[in-house]
Subunit: 257 residues, 2 copies
DNA sequence: TAGTGGTCTAGACCACCTC
DNA sequence: AGGTGGTCTAGACCACTAC
């Protein structure tokens, strides 16, 4: 018989009640003082227990309002189709996907010429600190911050593709633009990892405690060298990535229901 | 000028010192009472600040020892080559990868016939609760819990491939075994997401606060239907997945250094 | 104004690790 | 034994939200 500390008992009890539907997603938990009475514990102990649930992403709290059970709608991103030239689409793939899902996309955009960070330089096979074009997107869905995307192009590419440094969008998409210049992306290398957000990421994505970020790095290659490196940061609670590989004709047949 | 609460100042100061190398990965932070004196704050306030860093995955604490700056070695998993029949390997792909990395793999294994959970049933296109073979792996690298992997096969497959229910390993790999019976996996659909671990996952993977899990679901298809669904749970701090797509001959040329 | 969570303190006692 | 973090309490005051 190993006795759990009181704040864990509180957290476990509440977790069970959340799981069994006593407190459904979107609903509010009892206040700290109510819980304090119910569990015969000091307010600090209750807060300690609630804090566990917060860092586990089960509930979120706001001053003056209380604790709310989190609810997630996940957005699916098809990474293997994304910017596949065989699936023609106007403009940027992200906006298309979001609009198709019946949501309202919105993004801010900027272009810079900056020294490539070590992580990017390594992937672009250029020297650390050598310059690269950074095209940075901060994306929202229905005004909720959704992801940031930073694409770096090595400086040597700019001579052939001067529009890369233009501050506005490239209507047909940069991949298409480069292809029209004979610089074709024939393959890419994707890396995916997860971690807790840095304070900067937490600020941009308005992430509270208990929500990790999904990091997606795509390095694109022409026939003879890397031509771009895109680092995308997603809110982990709102996004799921997928890849379709091989023959999936059996997947779409006989859709359930 | 918006004043930060004291515990955030503590966390920010320590984070800066971790970033600039004052406390390198693996080193120990000053004790709570030392920090209490340095920041002229009560021990609880210091704990509050340290707890922020813990939930952000920057440090970990253990009773009697103190706070240690976390260090990560990440293991790369090539998901597009993984179990690709064109890259022949003996036995299971995971052990091969780990051994090649100079690490020592080890796993526990069990087989069950259980009702398929809703998530899996949906992907296997069978009714929720109908039976499925579950082959479950708990994997370690150098005795550190690394990932869990649960593969479900629909019950109808067992008639054709009775060895699926055998309690031991299938030496040539299940994918190969099924292929030898004419049930070929011609494509798969991968889904990747990240979230904080459930208490059960935290227990199996020995995850502390501040470390998310990476969830990887692979549904494999034959020509006419789904034949398996594999759910893998990774420690987010130790793993990174990657996909090679298209022609990457330019990637391996001129390796840096 | 009343109720919610957010910050902070001071102090007590316990559990674990090292010497 | 002495130092470390882990748990818990009681109480104070502040900031935000709702009505």
């Amino acid at each position: 018989m190993n006795k759990q500390p009181k704040y864990r008992q509180v957290a476990d009890a509440l977790r069970r009640e959340i799981d069994n539907g006593t407190y459904p997603p979107g609903s509010r938990l009892p206040s700290e003082s109510e819980l304090s009475a119910r569990f015969d514990a000091s307010r600090n102990t209750i807060r300690n227990g609630l804090n566990l649930l917060v860092t586990q992403g089960l509930v979120s709290s706001s001053q003056g309002l209380g604790y709310e059970v989190t609810k997630h709608e996940v957005f699916e991103l098809n990474a293997s189709r994304f910017e596949n030239l065989e699936f023609p689409q106007n403009g940027d793939a992200y906006s298309t996907d979001v609009t198709n899902a019946g949501r309202r996309p919105h993004q801010t955009f900027r272009v810079e010429l900056t020294p490539a960070p070590a992580y990017v330089a390594e992937r672009l096979k250029v020297e650390e600190g050598s310059r690269a074009v950074l095209r940075f997107c901060h994306r929202f869905v229905d005004d909720v911050p959704w992801s940031t995307q930073a694409t770096h192009y090595p400086e040597w590419l700019v001579e052939q593709g001067p529009r890369l440094t233009e501050p506005g969008d490239i209507a047909e998409g940069t991949t298409r633009y480069l292809a029209s210049l004979g610089i074709e992306q024939v393959g890419y290398f994707d890396e995916i990892s997860a971690r807790m957000p840095t304070p900067e990421e937490a600020r941009l994505l308005e992430i509270g405690a208990g929500v990790p970020v999904l990091l997606w790095t795509r390095t694109g290659f022409s026939n003879d060298r890397p031509i771009r490196c895109t680092v995308t940061t997603f809110r982990g609670d709102l996004n799921r990535m997928n890849y379709e590989i091989g023959d999936l004709s059996a997947r779409s047949e006989n859709e359930p229901q």
